[in-house]
Symmetry: C2
Subunit: 400 residues, 2 copies
């Protein structure tokens, strides 16, 4: 496999040439005007013009007369926006879910080209993961007539925390048999491209930061509400990994030290009360057959009392958990994702009420400046794989 | 009052002249060799030499042949260390405690010149605070024959969170009548110097970061164990304030939503179980007279079962709280301060055991690289006022 000419410019140290800094900034932001490029990179406009001319000559960037976000319509001619040339660079996001693998192929302008999934037996092996994902990647490139030479990197979202020191999945993972595996290395061996692996909730947070409800907000927390409960902490625009990669594990906040034992070994973790796994399994038994999270949500929307109560109960405990998170981090914004977030206000309204009850009163009366805002994710539980694409676009210029 | 000639160089934007960057770096670090200065500032050695020569001519910095920390003895002649001239700059730290006010006067080489306190009636007013602290400051300068012209700034440690947006003390403060007061402004009006106010636990964390057990560790949390419980979060070498200044309020982690009501309005806060206020008040009643934290510790050291149990019980709940903090931030280091930390292993041993029980198992077996280290503070419950001095030294070059 040959490498895209963008590769050399993208994977550089932050203190690179003006051309490299422009390419890295466009990789992270998508489309920008020359004025925005100057503001973000801190380079002089003349330096940007010279570098852009040479990047255009070598076909690395292209210009378009598209409207720039935030530009008022009718304010003279539309600003010229600059993007990386989508023909010279593509990125791949892979979600290694508990029971499926998803692959998104996107170009360097942040446009999604394809999105495909394969169902997996639970507890599939890392080797199977690499084989299935590689096949999905190959198919994606083939069906869109793209060369894999354009592949700049692969981001992988994993259902478990990853130790930033050695890249290995921790024992606390949702897939315990993967503990100790360096999944990025497994993929790198086969794909021969830069590969970055991150915890699934961290990837979801990156998607919110780059394209979702946290755009423009450098400090927020993300709460995943699904069969399990996870989370992520973003401070000053960067993910907080923690010492061993276990930051943001909101599902393992101890709610009741005398409660039932959790898969992590502790007792009474938040996940046991705010995750859908236990109530859904009880409800499925009562219904005499498997019921999905999507079923529960649609029944709740139709007015089913039991399904509404199930969502309200998880919201109540999650609000208490977020109250605890806010005693520690006092975030201005909480983004709630995972499939349960698709329940919208059926989840968010009781969650906000519970959060108010369980969080420190900071001022008298409501205050939009200081109160924590709780918002639903922009991605209907599908942000993690998109965030894995984001990892590649963001990591450019940061890692080797 | 005239201003010290250092003021203009200290209070500048980070992108200042080489002289300003040298002065700011020495202000933050105390004594450094020219080689260390070059490494930290990123300036060329020749640039440093030129700037130092001019700073020495104007008497702003001085040289000494003191041993540089970490330099092995006998390795040739000792390195020349450079410090700011202690005669041109002094800093003041003020602790506005619940029942006393403490003032530390230090010079720009980080040497403490004087440390004095005045007992206060509880619930004293901000006006009284300014009057008493100003008097202590005046006395300190006078008794050491120093001119207040050398005063570069004043740091104030307050028993409550401060909103970083408007500088006002939040309602959740330990001194509820101060809610809404901008205490830095109150001091500035009288002292006519730059004044920085911070939450007491945040100040303690700064002291640990600059001179204590967290020196060299950019990511840690600080837990205050005293009559009340507080805390601070340091990430990438910076305090985390949160959206409204309420980050690090570990005392208000909800332990039991059906528990007794806390002064903050919520129920079952960690502080009600891990703070000494309630058990000490019960014990004092039983003993027929007031008993202090210091008394409890010395009796526990002598083997008193009741006092040992009191410390062990707070340790148990604090360990559970730290387990929760670790699910959210996964810090590599926890520093435990406040007066109760003077109990040493009588507190720390059961606290570590409880922490192990209540924190996520990340790897099989102990691992010094990934396990969270729990250490006692270096300052015997007196770090907050020192940290207030540190605020001034660190803020140089950051704020206007």
């Amino acid at each position: 496999m040959r490498h895209s000419p963008l590769t050399a410019l993208l994977y550089k140290q932050p203190e690179g040439t003006p051309a490299a800094r422009i390419v890295q900034t466009l990789g992270e932001h998508g489309a920008l005007s020359a004025t925005q490029l100057a503001r973000i990179t801190g380079l002089a406009k003349s330096t940007i013009s010279t570098a852009l001319a040479s990047l255009k000559d070598s076909n690395m960037v292209i210009e378009g007369a598209w409207a720039v976000r935030g530009k008022s319509p009718g304010a003279g001619r539309p600003a010229i926006t600059i993007t990386l040339n989508p023909e010279v660079g593509t990125c791949v996001g892979v979600l290694l879910g508990v029971e499926h693998i998803q692959v998104i192929l996107a170009d360097v302008t942040h446009a999604v080209i394809s999105d495909a999934s394969t169902a997996m037996n639970s507890d599939y092996t890392p080797r199977e993961a690499v084989a299935v994902a590689s096949k999905l990647i190959e198919q994606a490139y083939k069906s869109y007539g793209l060369s894999t030479d354009t592949m700049l990197g692969v981001g992988i979202a994993v259902a478990g925390p990853i130790n930033p020191r050695d890249g290995k999945i921790l024992r606390a993972s949702g897939v315990p048999t993967w503990a100790g595996v360096n999944i990025a290395e497994e993929f790198k061996r086969v794909l021969r491209r830069p590969v970055i692996a991150e915890n699934e909730s961290n990837c979801s947070a990156i998607a919110e930061l780059m394209w979702g409800v946290a755009k423009g907000c450098d400090d927020f927390v993300f709460l995943t509400m699904d069969m399990a409960v996870g989370g992520a902490v973003v401070l000053r625009g960067q993910l907080v990994s923690g010492n061993a990669g276990a930051a943001g594990e909101f599902g393992h906040i101890c709610i009741d030290p005398n409660g039932p034992q959790c898969r992590c070994g502790k007792r009474g973790c938040l996940e046991l009360y705010a995750g859908l796994e236990r109530p859904l399994s009880r409800y499925s038994s009562a219904q005499g057959g498997p019921v999905t999270i999507e079923d529960v949500i649609s029944r709740a929307v139709e007015g089913d009392d039991v399904c509404r109560a199930m969502i309200r109960d998880t919201a109540h405990v999650a609000g208490r958990g977020l109250g605890i998170v806010t005693s520690i981090l006092d975030p201005g914004l909480v983004v709630v994702g995972g499939r349960l977030a698709m329940a919208g206000d059926l989840l968010l309204a009781p969650l906000r009420t519970s959060f108010e009850t369980h969080s420190l009163v900071r001022q008298s009366g409501p205050n939009p400046d200081t109160d924590t805002q709780i918002r639903g994710s922009a991605f209907s539980g599908r942000g993690a794989c998109l965030g894995a694409v984001g990892l590649v676009l963001r990591s450019c210029g940061r890692s080797g």
